[in-house]
C-alpha cells in the first residue's frame, strides 16, 4: 500500500466509525486533516457507511386486505435526504422506506434478497450476476430495469462526483446490464464480503438519470413521500404497487422528528408516537415499567473497551495487565452500568452473537483483588498503581470509569477519572496516545474487522499498542482461510490469548434499546435502527 492508499484506508474505516456513532464528525474531520487530506474531501468521506449490523429475519407480514392504519415513528432530525450522502439513523430510516436495496442482511449476518431475488458468483470470485424482481415500478410509474441499477452504482463509484462510496466500490471493474432484469458486477480482485458491500447504507436504487436525488423521492420502496417538512416531520403513504406482497402493512407512515430522545420517549408515553427506535438506558428502564408500552432490547456486537497501552510502563508488564483483569468484576459492571441490558463481555470483541466463533472454552479468572495486589507488587508496584483514566463523556462510559475506579481501588489501583468531551477524546489522536482509556466500538457484522483495526500489530487504531506474534498469525489465518473450521479455531485461540494477556477489558456488549406502544405487530428491532423494516409493522 502506498502512502495515500493507506490514508484512504484509514479514512474508510473512520467514516464507518462515524456512522456507528463512535466518533464525532468533528473528530473525524480532525483525523482527515491530520492525514493531510483537504477538509472538503474529508467531509465527503464522513458520509460513507457500511452494512447493517444485524438483521433478524423479518416477521411474516400480516395477511390482510391491504395496508391500513397509521404508524407514527419518532426519529432524530435528518439533515439531508440524498441516499448517496445519508449518514444518520434518521436519514437511512426514511430512505430505506422510499427506496430499496439490492440485498439486505439478516440477524444471522446472512445476505438475503430484496430487489435482487437471486445471484450467482463465478468460481474465481470476480463476477457477480444478480437477477432483479420482476414487475417492480418506481413511484412515478416507470418500471425498474437493470439500467437503473447500473446508473445508481456508477453514480456511487464515480470518482469525479466525490461521493463517499467511491472508495468502497473502487474494486468494481465494471457494471453491466444483462438484459432488462439482470446486472453483472465484475471485480478487479476477489472480495468475499462484496454482497455485504452491496447492502451498504447508501446503495439504494434510484431511477436512472434522477436529477435531484435529495428532493425527488422517486423510489421503488414500500412508501411514497406525501409531505416533507424539514425539522418537523415527513409523511408517507403506502405504495400500492410495492413488489413485496403484504408490505407495507400500514396505509400511512409518519416519521416525526425530535431533537431530544427524552422528548421522543415522552411523546411515546403520551401517545403521540407509536415507536421510538433508540434511547438511553434509564429511559428504557422507565419504559419497562410503563403500562401500555413494550420495551424491546436487541443485543449487538458493540462494546466499550477498557485498554491499557502495552508498549510502555506500566502496561508492558504482563503482571499489570493480569492484575487489572483480576481486579475487575464484569458481572457487577454489567449490572451497575448497563442494568443487565446486553451481554457480559469476556475481554474479546468476538461476542456471543457471533455464535459460530464465540467460545467460553477459556475460563475468565474469578475476581481476586488480593491476587491482583500481589501481582502488582511482583511487577514492582508494591504500593499499587496510580493512573489517569481518560474517558469520553458519551453513553455510560463515565459511569463505567467510576465503577472501575471503585473496583480497582480494592486492588491498590488508584484511578483518576478524566471525563472529556468526545471531540476532545478523539481529537488529535489523543485516544491513541493515552495509557489508560475507555473507547466505544460500534457493532460490526463480522469479528475480523475488530482484530484487523484494533489489535493486530501496527493496526491503524491499535489503541492498546498490543503486539503479539501468535495473535497476529492467528488473525491472518482467520482473515485469509477459506476453511470455516480453521477460522473458528483461530478465533477460539484468539479469545484465549486475549483473556490471558490482551491489554484490554471488554466488560459488556451493548443492547439496542427501543420501545413501542402495545398493539404494534411485526416490529423487529435491529442493531442499527436505521435499517428497521417499518413496512412489516401493522397497527
Amino acid at each position: 500500500m502506498n502512502q495515500s492508499d493507506e490514508r484512504l484506508h484509514v479514512l474508510q474505516i473512520a467514516r464507518s466509525e462515524v456512522l456507528a456513532g463512535r466518533m464525532s464528525r468533528r473528530a473525524f474531520l480532525r483525523l482527515g486533516l491530520a492525514l493531510g487530506l483537504s477538509a472538503g474531501a474529508t467531509a465527503l468521506a464522513a458520509c460513507g457507511g457500511t452494512a447493517p449490523a444485524s438483521a433478524p429475519t423479518a416477521a411474516p407480514a400480516p395477511a390482510g386486505s391491504g395496508p391500513s392504519g397509521r404508524l407514527r415513528v419518532a426519529s432524530e432530525i435528518p439533515v439531508q435526504l440524498d441516499p448517496a450522502f445519508a449518514s444518520s439513523d434518521a436519514e437511512i430510516l426514511i430512505l430505506n422506506h422510499v427506496y430499496d436495496y439490492l440485498v439486505d442482511i439478516d440477524a444471522g449476518n446472512n445476505v438475503i434478497p430484496r430487489l435482487a431475488r437471486e445471484w450467482t458468483i463465478s468460481d474465481d470470485g470476480l463476477r457477480y450476476r444478480l437477477t432483479l424482481a420482476s414487475g417492480v415500478t418506481f413511484h412515478d410509474g416507470s418500471p425498474l430495469t437493470a439500467a437503473d441499477v447500473v446508473w445508481t452504482f456508477n453514480r456511487l463509484r464515480d470518482a469525479s462526483l466525490q461521493l463517499p462510496t467511491a472508495d468502497l466500490y473502487a474494486n468494481i471493474a465494471d457494471i453491466a446490464a444483462d438484459g432488462e432484469n439482470a446486472v453483472v458486477f465484475t471485480l478487479s480482485a476477489p472480495n468475499p464480503f462484496f454482497l455485504y458491500d452491496l447492502s451498504d447504507n447508501h446503495a439504494l436504487i434510484l431511477r436512472a438519470g434522477t436529477a435531484n436525488p435529495a428532493t425527488t423521492f422517486n423510489g421503488t420502496g414500500p412508501f411514497k413521500v406525501v409531505e416533507y417538512r424539514t425539522e418537523n416531520r415527513i409523511d408517507l403513504a403506502a405504495n400500492p404497487a410495492y413488489f413485496q406482497t403484504g408490505k407495507p402493512a400500514v396505509a400511512d407512515l409518519e416519521i416525526i422528528f425530535f431533537a431530544d430522545q427524552a422528548a421522543a420517549v415522552d411523546a411515546l408515553r403520551g401517545g403521540q408516537v407509536d415507536l421510538v427506535l433508540r434511547m438511553p438506558t434509564p429511559l428504557f428502564q422507565t419504559l419497562q415499567q410503563t403500562a401500555g408500552i413494550v420495551a424491546v432490547q436487541t443485543p449487538t456486537n458493540g462494546f466499550d473497551l477498557v485498554r491499557l497501552r502495552a508498549d510502555r510502563e506500566p502496561g508492558n508488564k504482563p503482571e499489570v495487565i493480569r492484575a487489572l483483569k483480576l481486579a475487575t468484576d464484569r458481572q457487577a459492571i454489567f449490572r451497575q452500568v448497563k442494568a443487565g441490558l446486553g451481554a457480559v463481555g469476556r475481554d474479546s470483541p468476538i461476542g456471543p452473537l457471533f455464535s459460530t466463533y464465540y467460545s467460553e472454552e477459556t475460563p475468565l479468572p474469578a475476581r481476586d483483588p488480593a491476587a491482583a495486589r500481589a501481582l502488582l507488587a511482583s511487577a514492582g508496584y508494591p504500593d499499587g498503581l496510580k493512573l489517569d483514566l481518560h474517558v469520553p463523556d458519551s453513553g455510560d462510559r463515565p459511569d463505567l470509569a467510576v465503577v472501575l475506579k471503585e473496583q480497582w481501588a480494592e486492588a491498590g489501583i488508584d484511578i483518576n477519572v478524566i471525563v472529556e468531551p468526545e471531540s476532545v477524546y478523539y481529537g488529535d489522536n489523543g485516544w491513541l496516545e493515552v495509557d489508560l482509556g475507555i473507547t466505544g466500538w460500534g457493532s460490526r457484522p463480522v469479528p475480523q474487522f475488530y482484530l484487523d483495526v484494533m489489535l493486530v500489530s501496527g493496526a491503524v487504531w491499535n489503541e492498546s499498542h498490543f503486539s503479539d506474534a501468535e495473535f497476529d498469525a492467528l488473525a491472518a489465518t482467520a482473515r485469509t482461510t477459506l476453511d470455516e473450521a480453521e477460522r473458528a479455531h483461530a478465533y477460539r485461540e484468539i479469545q484465549r490469548i486475549l483473556i490471558e494477556r490482551g491489554p484490554i477489558i471488554i466488560p459488556y456488549f451493548f443492547a439496542q434499546l427501543s420501545a413501542h406502544r402495545e398493539g404494534l405487530r411485526g416490529y423487529v428491532a435491529k442493531a442499527f435502527p436505521g435499517r428497521t423494516d417499518l413496512a412489516a409493522i401493522a397497527v
Binding site: T281, Q285, Q336, V402, E420
Partner: protein
C-alpha cells in the same frame, strides 16, 4: 466599626438569620462530613441501586448504589472549599490589584483595566468554559478559573472606591509627608475598601457556588466520582423518571446553599450600609 452593632444589625433581619442558619448547617456538614456521613461518598453497592429514601439511606441511593446523603455531605465540603477558596483568593488578588494599580494610576492602570474589561466582556460561565477547555478539567483548574473570572470583577469594584478616595485630603496629606507606598495602600486605603470588599466577597461567594455547580453540571468541573452537586445533577438527568430523588437531592442542595448565601450576602450589605 462597632462589631456588636454590626452583629445586631445583621441578625435583626429574619431573612439574614435564616440564610446564616442554612450556611452554618452546610458548613457543619462540610467540616464534620466524615463524622456525619453514614457511608463513603463513592462506595457502590450493586445490590442497592436506585433505592428510594429510607431510614438507612435518608436521601436514597443513585444508579451505582451510592448513598446520596453521604454524597451530599461530602459534596458540601467540595463546593464550599472550591467556591470559598476561589472567592477568598479572587478577593485578595482583586483587592491587591484594585488598590495598588488604581492608586498608582497612569498607563499601568489603563492597561490592567482594559485587559480586565476585555475579560469581563465575556459572561463568567463562558469565560470559565473557554479556560477549562484550554486547561482541562480538574479541581485546581476550577480554582484557577474562578480566580481569573472573579479577580477582574473584584478589582473593578475596588477601583471605583479607590478612585473616589484617591483625591481625598488625607491621601494628599500622606503625600505631603512622603508616606511609604505600602502604608498608603494597606493602612490608609485597604480599611476603607474593606466594607465594599466584604459585600463583594459575600456576593461573589454565592456566584462562585453557582459557577462550581454549573461547571460540574456541564461536565468540565470536578471529575467523577467526586460527589460534586452539579455533576450529580448532570448524572441524574436521565434518571429522573426512574429515581427522581437522585435529581431532586443535589438540585435542592445547590438551590438551598445559593439562597442561604444570598440572604447572608444581603444581610452583610445591609449591616454595612446601615452602620
Amino acid at each position: 466599626m462597632n462589631v456588636q452593632r454590626l452583629g445586631r444589625a445583621f441578625f435583626a433581619d429574619p431573612a439574614t438569620a435564616a440564610g446564616t442558619i442554612i450556611v452554618t448547617v452546610f458548613l457543619v456538614l462540610a467540616l464534620f462530613g466524615p463524622l456525619i456521613a453514614p457511608h463513603s461518598p463513592t462506595a457502590q453497592n450493586a445490590d442497592l441501586i436506585r433505592q428510594p429514601p429510607s431510614l438507612s439511606h435518608p436521601f436514597g441511593t443513585d444508579r451505582l448504589g451510592r448513598d446520596l446523603f453521604s454524597r451530599i455531605v461530602y459534596g458540601a465540603r467540595d463546593i464550599l472549599a472550591l467556591a470559598g477558596g476561589g472567592t477568598v483568593l479572587a478577593v485578595i488578588i482583586g483587592a491587591f490589584i484594585g488598590i495598588s494599580v488604581t492608586y498608582l494610576g497612569g498607563w499601568l492602570e489603563e492597561t490592567v483595566f482594559r485587559l480586565f474589561d476585555g475579560l469581563l466582556a465575556l459572561p463568567a460561565l463562558l469565560l470559565a468554559l473557554i479556560l477549562l477547555g484550554a486547561t482541562g478539567p480538574s479541581r485546581a483548574n476550577v480554582l484557577l478559573v474562578m480566580i481569573l473570572v472573579y479577580t477582574p470583577i473584584v478589582a473593578r469594584v475596588v477601583r471605583s472606591v479607590v478612585l473616589a478616595l484617591k483625591s481625598r485630603g488625607f491621601i494628599e496629606a500622606a503625600r505631603m509627608r512622603n508616606e511609604r507606598l505600602g502604608y498608603i495602600l494597606w493602612r490608609e486605603l485597604l480599611p476603607l475598601v474593606a466594607p465594599t470588599l466584604a459585600v463583594e466577597a459575600a456576593l461573589r461567594f454565592s456566584y462562585a457556588i453557582f459557577l462550581v455547580a454549573s461547571l460540574g453540571f456541564l461536565g468540565v468541573g470536578v471529575q467523577p466520582p467526586s460527589p460534586d452537586w452539579g455533576l450529580m445533577v448532570l448524572e441524574a438527568r436521565n434518571e429522573f423518571a426512574l429515581a427522581p430523588w437522585s435529581l431532586y437531592v443535589p438540585a435542592a442542595a445547590i438551590a438551598l446553599l445559593v439562597i442561604g448565601v444570598n440572604l447572608m450576602a444581603e444581610g452583610v450589605r445591609r449591616a454595612i450600609s446601615d452602620s
